[in-house]
């Protein structure tokens, strides 16, 4: 089966906006990230199982706001109390997760097909986010993640790096194109390279 990525109809490569007379290295880089395993893990309210002993790809869940636990292939973002979003390039990790989390205590859902992911890199990344999101991004550190809204679209921000800033934005697949248009519109004034 061939897969059609969430942004296949809108994401075109090239340089856009105010890119002329600017160094290519200074431009924002916007790309679509695809073929990741995305799993939502939620512990039921009435479950008292300790989750910090459960190992996923060498990582342990942390029930701390903003926290992302990560290694080279996998990132687990805190999405709410006892609620996490796991992102991994290891597609076969799902079986390991399903084996480790008992279905009487955890709801594990593969939502790989239902998210659009946009990655933005460059020094003006945070300026682009500030244009549509009410969150105070000065407080967001490297390897933090938040849920918020961008021009009214619910999205998740995962901050991968600082200097230069690099973030991944996750939105529901059906809102992906709208979010992409919002992000690229906001990026025009800085000039961006779509890759």
């Amino acid at each position: 089966m061939s897969l059609i990525s969430a942004l296949a109809n809108v994401h075109t490569t090239g340089q856009f906006g105010d890119y002329k007379s600017k160094d290519v290295n200074d431009l924002l880089k916007i790309s679509e990230i695809k073929n990741l395993l995305i799993v939502q893990i939620v512990q039921y309210k009435n479950s008292s199982v300790l989750f910090d002993s459960i190992d996923i790809d060498g990582l342990k869940l942390k029930n701390e706001p903003l926290t992302v636990v990560f290694n080279e292939t996998t990132r687990i973002m805190w999405n709410g109390p006892k609620n996490w979003l796991l992102i991994s390039t290891k597609k076969n990790l799902l079986k390991n997760i399903l084996d480790n989390f008992k279905e009487t205590d955890f709801a594990v859902t593969d939502i790989s097909h239902s998210r659009a992911i946009i990655e933005i890199e460059g020094k003006d990344t945070i300026e682009v986010l500030k244009k549509g999101c009410p969150f105070n991004f000065d407080t967001l550190r490297k390897n933090n993640s938040i849920n918020s809204t961008y021009n009214g679209i619910a999205f998740t921000v995962d901050k991968l790096n600082e200097n230069p800033n690099k973030v991944r934005l996750f939105a529901l697949r059906s809102f992906g194109e709208s979010l992409y248009h919002s992000i690229t519109d906001a990026s025009l004034e800085f000039g961006f390279e779509s890759i």
Partner: protein
């Protein structure tokens, strides 16, 4: 714009929240005879106070949790926020 200190996530914009009604309303006890008046009071009748008010909000674009907020309905000042299961003194 209001800023609400979510007890789970921290200080966030009101845009991320959704109002959920009066948090001081108590459901009549289960398995007890309930009069029409008591049920009316639970379902419909609200005091609509001017001043300090305890409200339910949901952090719908954040952690998706229900929380309680003590807010002044006249000035919009927010005094305290609580987790949904926290008792308010």
């Amino acid at each position: 714009m209001l800023y609400i200190n979510c007890p789970h996530c921290g200080m966030r914009s009101q845009n991320e929240f959704s109002y959920g009604g009066d948090a001081s309303v108590k459901r009549p006890e289960l398995n007890k005879e309930v009069s029409d008046q008591e049920w009316d009071n639970f379902v419909y009748n609200r005091k609509s106070l001017r001043g300090k008010h305890l409200e339910l909000w949901q952090h719908i674009s954040g952690c998706r949790q229900w929380i309680k907020i003590e807010r002044d309905t006249a000035t919009h000042e927010i005094f305290r926020t609580f987790k949904a299961d926290e008792e308010v003194a």
